[in-house]
Amino acid sequence: MSAITVGRPVASRRPIYGWALHDGFVVARRNLIQTLRVPELIFFSLVQPVIFVLLFAYVFGGAIPIPGDGASSADAANAYRQYLMPGIFGQTVAFAAAASTVGLAEDMSRGIIDRFRALPMSPSAVLLGRTFADAVRQILVLTVLSITGLLVGWRINNGIVSAILAYALLLFFAYTVAWVGAWIGLSVPNPETANTAGLVWLFPLTFLSNAFVPISSMPDWLQPIAAYNPISTLVLATRELFGNPTGIQPNYWSLDHAALYTIISCAVLIAIFAPLAVRKYRNATAR
């Protein structure tokens, strides 16, 4: 070994935002570098939503009527595309949870988690970093989706401020479900199980919503479930903010206050799943 040239370790001063966030950013940076080094990952995370846009826009488009917008039959397909895009946005950010599940399960199966746990770092940093990076990745996904949407005829009709609020709401939701996904990722025994467990709850959750069909078209007993599904309110709020058709809403508090209900749901979900995930992480040993 060469002669020692570097002196004793010098401790950083505690940043004003605290060590948990500092460590979370360090881990998030690592996760984002990983993403950049595996472009296939980004590619395939984009393919599915883009295919959904094309399928729904051209295959189902004319078959699903949006009541209450008085569009002529010739405009029906175009109206559906306007209606569809926020639905795809909502579905896509919800499915981001699966990436957190798989990513975390893979981390836990590797030796690196032992090193993290033997460092004097914040115990929540690995989870903060994972959820944050997974939400940041959605910025790219939403950008590509928006461009695809614009190409098939979707439009932003309410101005830039509302549009930014819509995207912010989508990203907040992405961050929320990332915590749920992280908790699942810590609960499964191995990365193979994570692949299934990460997705299985998302299909009913996204399809039991107004993402693709209006709630008013559902059977009566299903309507309250769909109405109080946060994905419905997220999609509805996004439609309103983008100035896209919303269809006629049945009378539910959640649908009358879509944005507020979405924010409250996200806050509640994070308040439940973040502590659960952190506790699971602390007790977990590398498998």
Binding site: V6, V10, W19, H22, R30, Q34, G111
Partner: protein, 330 residues
């Protein structure tokens, strides 16, 4: 904390369900010392290291590292230790340099220090050329070196090395030994686990032999060898079928229970070279053909065998269960 030992563990037990991985384990490592924790797979070595490095809580007992309680003061312990486990715990997609920077940042060290220290470590561990390549392109030996470098970023007082050379080829193993010896020369306290007797002999001043979760012997390599007596005679016969008979024939000249392995018989003796003549006579009388006969100092293999009645290296993972030396796993 100047005079207290670097590691002090008393009565550490740890159960996993029904399995008792550690059963009243005691351990003291003095500052600047290298202690080798020697035992077969499943003896509890890794569990002990995981408890001392705060990854696992003991079910009973008490342990202090650098004077801090591993359960109640886990974060202070983490600030003073470095840990290199059995698997290279680095990020595959990050480069060597990015890995070191990340761990340095998570140690809450200044970016300037981390930058300088990373460069220094990469140079020391012969990773300069690969520093800016993702770690997944590294060879096994390079990954281990990066892993060790990562645990040294904050200049830990105490370093835990859990089977640092398991799975490495002989050349990488020698390189690793060199690196560890250099660290020790700088004054780092090292607790290493190994199932290679040769490795414990090479690196550690003090060897703690464990089996079934507790200490069964403790001392320097020389002391342990003395403990099982003086020289040993080793006879190789041409056919393992006659080994049993040869052992019986040797019974009158040796001073302890002969151990048979394949076509080799070894046993403790007293009386130096005279014994050789007696042994040859005894074997000749039984008309047993021998291919080799020698007197030698006991190895740690013998120590382990005489202490536990079984071999140190794990039987299930070795290519041939009957060969002892020269057989390397993987």
């Amino acid at each position: 904390m100047s005079d207290q030992p670097a590691v002090r563990a008393e009565g550490i037990s740890r159960t996993f369900g029904e399995v008792k991985a550690l059963d009243g384990m005691d351990l003291v490592v003095q500052k600047g010392q290298v202690v080798g924790l020697l035992g077969p797979n499943g003896a509890g070595k890794t569990t002990m290291v995981r408890i001392l490095s705060t990854l696992l809580k003991p079910t009973a007992g008490h342990a202090e590292v650098a004077g801090f309680d591993v359960v109640k003061q886990a974060n202070q312990v983490r600030r003073t230790i470095g840990l290199t486990g059995q698997y290279a715990a680095v990020d595959e997609y990050l480069t060597g340099r990015e890995n070191l920077r990340m761990f340095g940042a998570l140690f809450h060290l200044t970016p300037a220090y981390v930058k300088a220290r990373s460069t220094e470590l990469l140079a020391s561990f012969d990773l300069e050329d690969a520093a800016d390549r993702p770690a997944r392109t590294y060879s096994g030996g390079m990954r281990r070196r990066l892993d060790l470098a990562a645990s040294l970023i904050a200049r830990p007082e105490i370093l835990f090395l859990d089977e640092p050379t398991t799975g490495l080829d002989p050349r990488s193993r020698l390189g690793m030994w060199q690196v560890i010896n250099d660290l020790v020369a700088e004054g780092t306290t090292v607790l290493l686990t190994t199932q290679y007797l040769e490795e414990a002999d090479q690196l550690a001043q003090d060897i703690v032999v464990i089996d079934h979760g507790h200490v069964i012997a403790h001392g320097t390599a020389e002391q342990l060898k003395d403990q099982i007596g003086g020289d040993r005679i080793e006879v190789t016969v041409h056919d393992s079928a006659v080994a049993e008979r040869a052992a019986l024939a040797l019974g009158s000249v040796v001073s302890g229970q002969p151990i048979i392995e394949d076509n080799k018989i070894s046993a403790p003796v007293s009386g130096g070279s005279k014994v050789l003549v007696g042994a040859i006579r005894a074997l000749d009388l039984e008309q047993i053909e021998i291919t080799d006969i020698m007197l030698r100092r006991p190895t740690l293999d013998d120590v382990f065998m005489s202490l536990t009645g079984h071999l140190a290296e794990d039987e299930t993972q070795r290519p041939k269960p009957t060969r002892r030396r020269g057989a390397r796993r993987r």
